[in-house]
């Protein structure tokens, strides 16, 4: 299934590579499992014919940009969907990437599917189907921009009693094997020494025990508050199916309610935790 976007991406990748404008192009290729696309690194114009784009291109390729080894290759060409672009802009906003280090091929996107062929949860809340941050835009405009309203999804959990909610998350975090796949997959978890690896003092227990699991998963979510691009990479990567996006969505909602801030495609936008304002809301302070 070679849709128009596939051909266009190949064309752009070939041109960038043959002109020497980029050292490597990160895109999607045909996968070997369930017909699902996989990430591929293309370094010659010939290899560019392996690139594809379809609704199985679920991975967030921006994750690779957090690794110095990838950036060190030179200028990187990269395929991004709207949600991935948010993560890329986040890296620029947080000084991890310079704009000139990437050539961005953004694709308009009607949604991607999970392994089971169903539309990904995140695509139901997508407000960036037509990305606005790119060097090249591929695909025809998608009309359907959706509101980022998670209240329907979260209602079930928000109306639980504290005890019920505690029990729910206990049953989820019990499963955690502390493989840190969520962290590895997240484009914005880029610290070279993660807090969980700091042991003077050891705030978070590292053994796969409920106590440390709670601390880890909650702190991971908190560190993404006001930063999370909503790409769903963490949840997709989780081998034990912890619904991590519930936490991320809840925090996105809280940040919106409290600070009226939402992660967007503007590298100059100011996340609430990077500001110091004397008139910040402070009703939680006694």
């Amino acid at each position: 299934m070679n849709d128009e976007r596939t051909l266009k991406i190949r064309e752009i990748a070939k041109e960038l590579l043959s002109k020497g404008e980029i050292a490597v192009f990160i895109g999607y290729g045909k996968g070997t499992c369930n017909g699902k696309a996989r990430p591929i690194f293309v370094r010659t114009p010939e290899e560019a014919d392996e690139l594809i784009f379809d609704s199985t291109c679920s991975n967030n390729l921006v994750t690779y940009l957090k690794f110095p080894a990838v950036r060190d290759e030179g200028v990187v060409g990269i395929v991004v969907k709207g949600c991935d672009a948010k993560a890329l802009v986040g890296l620029i906003r947080e000084s991890q990437l310079m704009r000139e280090q990437v050539r961005i091929v953004a694709v308009t996107c009607e949604g991607v599917v999970a392994d089971d062929g169903q539309l990904q949860l995140r695509c139901q809340y997508c407000d960036v189907a037509n990305p606005t941050f790119y060097d090249f835009l591929v695909g025809s405009p998608v009309e359907d921009q959706k509101p980022r309203d998670f209240s329907g999804l979260l209602e079930k959990y928000e109306t639980m009693s504290v005890e019920e909610r505690w029990e729910f998350w206990q049953s989820q975090f019990e499963k955690c094997i502390r493989c840190y796949a969520c962290r590895q997959a997240c484009p914005l978890c880029y610290c070279t020494r993660c807090i969980v690896e700091k042991n003077q003092p050891q705030w978070i227990e590292t053994s796969s025990h409920l106590r440390g699991n709670f601390a880890w998963n909650i702190i991971r979510a908190f560190h993404l508050a006001g930063r999370c691009a909503g790409c769903g990479a963490c949840e997709d990567a989780c081998p034990v199916d912890i619904p991590l996006m519930l936490l991320n969505y809840k925090l996105e909602k809280e940040i919106w309610d409290y600070f009226h801030y939402r992660v967007d495609l503007d590298p100059e936008s100011v996340p609430p935790f990077t500001t110091f304002k004397t008139d910040d809301r402070g009703e939680f302070i006694l």
Binding site: Q96, I195, P201, T274, F276
Partner: protein, 674 residues
């Protein structure tokens, strides 16, 4: 090896009446790391401090925990004592068993247990303390005074006479402030101008004072001893070097119907004007909002008549940078106004007084202008509406002040005395007139103030009626003032020709922007907050910034002058040192793990963080990390809380210390649970 001494203070009865201090000391002695523990009646006293010093020497202590009052009270005291005994002062910490324990609990057993826990926590912290050295910073031996009223003038003159170069910034075209508007001053009735103008001249002529009028402080950065200030010199449209102040332009200007601010709207001025005859500098300024040339591009009469070619329509605002070591804030006050529109929704106007629509209902400063020889009536009491001499004048106190429903709870302090003065001066000028005063209380505290108001009543015959005025309305050319005399219990109605309102004293409008820029705290009314209400009344919450005059609270002239001199002397003390020592309790970046997201840089309220390049031996930049300037950092910890990778620690409050403190509580709790 920790060798910690624990010193438990009884604070007389303050702690010992609830906490068993002897037992706290006994149990503390058995805590891990504690070598010596004792208790004493007053640890802060000389023998108490000696106890600590000799124990340090005798037991070779390398850490001290004083279990006593709040560190705000005596941390410095005990750290100095430890230092005198040869210990690094930052190895001494306080466990607060007074404010956090004995004062708030009455169960002796539980309070004693809690005191022991508080000691345990601090011992765990001190075990992880390490010696710190104070941050030393140089001092710029110059000072900035913001506001050129009597407080600012006094502070500037005192510092200038003390040999310090002073930058005085005044937002109006002339210095002098409200005092220049006053007629005569209580309780001596000496002429305000006569005592103020010589000081204004002294400011202008002082070799150590650099005066910026018609200028505002635009930005302040830096810290104690090293402030960087940007001053906006607003375009005056008159070249101050060429102008000789002849005033011909102000006479010829055709735009003459502009309410005169100095006379509080009781007279008109021209578009090019000198605020008042004794102004310093005595040179005009063009009010561009009302100037015909600026509105239509025509006119230019002033330019034509000016013999020295001083008119400069093209002049632009100019930004100048000044470096100073200390700042005195003397931004003064304004008067609350009774109109419908208020600067914020906390305040409410006076519908019962017609929201200010009657021209013969005026405020205290307007009455000052009527009394003043330089005023619009040349000192004759003539009412604004028809220029007739009023025979019945009503003075109303506490208009806005002490009036919760209108949004101001405080007392404006000077009104009671100035009302007595107003009534007295009125009676001197209109001997056959009647002066009535509606008051809530007469609060004339101050040297010879009470005698002064008694004189107003007994010798000049002012009629004092205790009660509020419920309504003012116009009838047949008179103002009907309806009120009550609560002492005799009858309703009172006065047919007045003029009503003078002692409206509340409020800070200058929008002054909080400046205070935010300076980083000093202010209260809900926008008055500057002092560092300590009793012991540090002229210091702001920020080191190196002092306060004087009515920006702090309503004040009369002698108090403003006294406070200005106090602020000046505090600033002089600061500037007399070759360098300053700052607390080393500042943030520190772990460069090895800092990932350089620079969230801390953006969040830092003190602007103390910069980007630092980590280079290899060949000089190539490998990566960028955050760096804290210890002489700017205030140790607030905002950066610590935004750092995802936990790469910033606050000296004196490191993660390791806090973690140990929390752990000691948790361990103790689990013991109790078992």
């Amino acid at each position: 090896m920790a060798r910690i001494g624990v010193f438990v203070c009884h604070c007389g009865e303050n702690i010992a009446s609830v906490v068993d201090c002897e037992r706290v000391a006994k149990i503390s002695a058995s805590l891990p790391g504690v070598t010596y523990a004792t208790d004493y009646k007053y640890m802060c006293s000389d023998p108490g401090q000696d106890l600590i010093k000799s124990a340090i020497a005798e037991h070779n202590l390398n850490g001290v925990v004083v279990a006593a009052c709040s560190p705000h009270m005596h941390e410095t005291t005990f750290r100095k004592a430890a230092q005198q005994a040869g210990l690094n002062p930052y190895l001494c910490e306080m466990a607060n068993i007074r404010e956090h324990c004995s004062w708030v609990h009455d169960d002796h057993e539980k309070a004693t247990q809690k005191a022991i826990d508080l000691v345990r926590i601090m011992v765990e912290k001190v075990r992880r303390n390490h010696p710190l050295e104070p941050v030393r910073v140089s001092v710029t031996k110059r000072a900035l005074v913001i506001g050129g009223g009597i407080a600012g003038i006094q502070a500037a003159l005192d510092m200038a006479n003390g040999g310090i170069e002073v930058v005085l910034v005044e937002k109006e075209p002339s210095i002098g402030g409200h005092m220049a508007q006053l007629s005569e001053t209580f309780p001596t009735l000496d002429c305000s101008q006569c005592i103020l103008t010589p000081k204004m001249v002294e400011v202008a002529q002082h070799p150590n004072i650099k005066l910026y009028t018609y200028s505002e402080v635009e930005n302040v950065s830096g810290f104690v001893g090293n402030f960087k200030v940007t001053v906006r010199k607003k375009a005056r449209s008159v070249n101050m070097e060429l102008c000789n102040g002849c005033g011909l332009c102000t006479q010829k200007c055709p735009s003459r119907k502009i309410p005169n601010e100095f006379d509080r709207g009781l007279s008109n001025r021209s578009a090019i004007y000198i605020p008042f005859p004794q102004a310093i500098p005595n040179k005009p300024v063009i009010d561009r909002d009302h100037c015909i040339h600026f509105k239509t591009g025509k006119c230019g009469v002033c330019e034509k008549v000016c013999g020295t070619k001083a008119i400069d329509f093209d002049q632009q605002d100019e930004l100048v940078n000044e470096e100073v070591g200390a700042i005195v804030v003397a931004t003064g006050y304004d008067l609350y106004n009774i109109s419908m529109d208020q600067p914020n929704d906390k305040l409410e106007g006076y519908g019962e007084y017609g929201y200010g629509k009657y021209p013969d209902v005026i405020d205290g400063l307007q009455f000052e202008r009527l009394l003043s020889a330089t005023g619009p009536t040349g000192g004759k009491i003539l009412r604004p509406s028809d220029g007739k001499e009023p025979k019945n004048v009503v003075f109303i106190s506490c208009v806005g002040s002490r009036h919760n429903a209108k949004g101001i709870t405080y007392c404006s302090k000077i009104c009671c005395t100035y009302i007595a003065k107003h009534g007295m001066l009125y009676k001197h000028k209109v001997p056959d007139g009647n002066a009535y005063v509606f008051y809530m209380d007469v609060r004339t505290s101050g040297k010879r103030f009470d005698e002064f108001w008694r004189r107003a009543v007994e010798e000049d015959g002012l009629v004092y009626l205790r009660g509020r005025v419920s309504k003012i309305y116009e009838q047949d050319g008179h103002l009907i003032v309806k009120g009550a005399d609560t002492l005799s219990g009858v309703a009172v109605e006065v047919e007045a020709d003029l009503v003078v309102l002692a409206t509340a004293i409020v800070p200058q409008p929008n002054i909080e922007k400046l205070f935010q820029n300076l980083g000093i705290s202010y209260d809900e009314y926008n008055f500057v907050t002092e560092a300590h209400p009793k012991l540090r009344p002229v210091e702001s919450s920020t080191a190196g910034i002092f306060l004087a005059g009515a920006c702090h609270s309503p004040k009369d002239i002698p108090e403003s002058v006294a406070q200005a001199s106090a602020a000046a002397s505090k600033a002089l003390i600061l500037l007399s040192k070759p360098e300053l020592e700052r607390e080393p309790l500042v943030a520190k970046v772990n460069e090895a793990t800092c990932i350089g997201c620079f969230y801390c840089l953006r969040a830092c309220p003190a602007k103390a963080i910069t980007e630092k390049e980590i280079k290899n031996r060949a000089g190539e930049v490998l990566r960028k990390v955050s760096e804290v300037n210890p002489s700017v950092c205030t140790g607030c910890g905002t950066c610590v809380s935004v750092c995802f990778s936990n790469s910033i620690d606050l000296e004196g409050f490191t993660d390791e210390q806090i973690y140990a403190e929390i752990n000691s509580v948790i361990e103790r709790m689990s013991v109790i649970q078992q």
